[in-house]
Amino acid sequence: MDLSYGKDYEAFRAETRAFLKNHADKHPSQNRYDGFTKSSRAWQKTLIAHGYAARTIPKDYGGFGAEPDILKSRIIAEEFVKAGAPMGFQNQGISMLVPTLLELGTEEQKKRYIPPTIKGEMVWCQGYSEPNAGSDLAGLQTRGVEDGDDFVINGQKIWTSTAQIADMMFCLVRTEPDAPKHAGISYILIPMTTPGLDVRPLTTMTGRPEFNEVFFTDVRVPKKNLVGRRGEGWFVANATLKHERGMLGNPNISENRLAGVVRLMEEETEDGARVMENPVFRDRLAALQGRVMAMRYHGMRLLTHSIKGTDPGVAGMIVKLQGCELNHQLAALAIDVMGEMGVLYEDSPHIRADGSWQWSFMYDLGLIIGGGTAQIQKNIIAERGLGLPRGDKEPVPVRAAAR
């Protein structure tokens, strides 16, 4: 057991700190829902130039070109959280599409799509779920029929996050209707401006249009937009998910949030007394701190597995379930300590933190559902992790990030 990262890494940490200190007033404010703005794109460029974003993406594709080093990535994450500086973009394009292209894309696809994606100039959405294919993703019915050099696509996607601002979609389409369920699917890249493609925003519980329906009527997409081979889309999609294991249960988010609740409890008062003096809330806070720390060191254990290239087994399967739940509970505590002030929203007078605790409380419930529901996660943990007999259905792969 050795919790220190070693001398070389501490030097890297010092370097990272110095960068953050020099740029303390140059980054946009940390706000989870401000999407792509001019200032966030500028910040992304700075980060790439210094190796704090797109770190391991080869220079040929616009990245920083460093060797993969999981510990360095971890140090970057730690220091950025501590400094309260926004990390590089984390979105479906960067976290899911780019690693997939690096592994399975053609040279042309890599050159064309990776550079603008990592700069935040090309926005992607994930076209997987359909009205009748959510948990049962492999039941998807959107059809792609071969016609000359194109596929002609008809059907519908739903719950597609960011489709309303996306330039491109990575999409699962059934191209071999006669093949077995999992074998007839292809992974296709579709420009959102293609004629016949219609995006209709859907408002979520939070009151924002956070996801969409996407309709396809004779949408023509060139065959060269296929990633991997035809009919192997299920395999390609799962390759993406492998890269993304744990992104939704990211312990940095929980640590950040815990620190936020601590600050809140120091500041809020009830009958003139600091909420931190309330033993009930303090107990909940301390219990959550224990869970946050457990997930943090759990993350270090998983990190060790990934450095060694060993399989963490069931330990890796619980991250999405536990991480999303923990974030939701942290937001619930924040709301409870604010009492009536905690239900204020939007532009209300007296609002705290722009209503972001309420937004998180609701959005985190969305994340408990999105990317493979909690119930599906538990099935996976029980069946694949613990070897319990399978229920009378096919297994479902761990779905990746909703956002």
């Binding site: 009930v280 409870d336 239900v343 007296h350 419930l365």
Partner: protein, 361 residues
């Protein structure tokens, strides 16, 4: 012993539900919260039921019914997430006048309340853990200070509030010395405001019971009504989830056939049914045994808040992505419950009060 609703209580609830299902369907609710369209029709349709006359005694032109009946009405309003002012206006204001008013005040106000001419808003939030500088003081018959989270101020004619020493006051809303600003919450179906009193005129409720106990009773009644609203909203969520589990298919099967989904539904109903009994008891006992009412109000609201939060989460989960989308309507109830949980004291505050009232702390 018979622990059940009477035929007339049951019918009262059904008649409110009937009016609401005509006027406050999910579609209507969307229109009412987006543009306000349909609110007048809802008002008109509920007006026929003369809900403002529920509590005032017969000699004042009312029906003289009790808090259990009022709670049943509030439960129905919650079950439709109805944007309709009832608790402060038609229950708490008349109760306050009946409990703490002088003979003259009762004779003057109760008939007006029964008629719906006098409509009170409730400004007592600082009595359940004051936030910021919220506090009302009285000097020479004038009120000063800030009340946060005032209920049903929209359309009110008066504001029911209490001074720091626990005396109840009714202040006319339309005076320059009363400044009202809307607050915006996650829930678009109920209205809240903050209210600034700047040397405002107000009439003290100065009957025999004026001090202490009256405020505690009004707070208790208000908490019981919040609980009833949460019960109604939770029941609707349970029904929506069960209905959805009976029609939604994944993996070629109804999702209700998966044990995980069955258990979500069973857990909701297993918590809700005893919570309903607790609510019936607290609302019934309010009139029978006023000394126990403050404690019961704390216990029922703290418990119902926990149950309702659990139900609002699980019902959303049963719906999958659809539960998170406004399309399903789940969000109306989820957010209405979210506000009720905090309104007039969250569970932690109320359990602290309950412990103090029993001499445990």
């Amino acid at each position: 012993m018979e622990f059940a609703l009477s035929e007339t209580q049951y019918m009262l609830q059904e008649s409110v539900k009937g009016a609401l299902s005509r006027r406050a369907s999910l579609e209507a609710l969307r229109a009412m919260t987006d543009t306000g369209e349909g609110r007048d029709a809802l008002e008109a349709s509920l007006k026929e039921l003369a809900l403002s006359a529920l509590i005032p005694p017969e000699e004042a032109g009312g029906a003289g019914l009790g808090l259990l009946e009022a709670a049943l009405v509030q439960q129905s309003l919650g079950s439709h997430a109805a944007p309709f002012s009832f608790a402060a206006r038609s229950v708490l204001t008349p109760l306050a006048v009946m409990e703490a008013g002088t003979q003259a005040q009762k004779a003057e106000w109760l008939p007006k309340i029964a008629e719906g001419e006098m409509r009170g808003a409730l400004a007592l939030s600082e009595k359940s853990g004051a936030r910021e500088d919220a506090k009302i003081t009285e000097k020479n018959g004038r009120l000063n200070g800030r009340a946060l989270f005032v209920m049903e101020a929209e359309d009110a004619t008066h504001i029911l509030t209490a001074s720091q020493d626990g005396r109840l006051f009714l202040a006319p809303k339309n005076q320059k010395t009363v400044k009202i600003a809307g607050l915006k919450t996650i829930d678009g179906t109920r209205s809240f405001a903050e209210c600034l009193f700047e040397n405002a005129e107000a009439e003290p409720l100065s009957g025999e019971n004026a001090r202490g106990r009256s405020l505690a009773l009004i707070l208790s009644a208000a908490r019981i009504l919040e609980s009833a609203d949460m019960l109604g909203a939770s029941e609707t969520l349970l029904h929506m989830a069960v209905d959805y589990a009976k029609v939604r298919k994944q993996f070629g099967k109804l999702i209700g056939s998966f044990q995980a989904v069955k258990h979500l539904c069973a857990e909701m109903v297993a918590e809700l049914e005893p919570a309903r009994a607790l609510l019936w008891f607290a609302a019934h006992d309010f009139g029978e045994n006023p000394d126990a009412a403050p404690l019961n109000g704390c216990i029922v609201k703290a418990h119902m808040a926990d149950v309702a939060r659990m139900v609002s989460r699980k019902a959303t989960e049963v719906h999958g992505g659809m539960g998170f989308a406004q399309e399903s309507g789940v969000h109306f109830f989820f957010k209405r419950i979210g506000v009720s949980i905090q309104c007039l004291g969250g569970p932690a505050y109320l359990r602290g009060e309950a412990a103090r009232m029993q001499g445990w702390a």
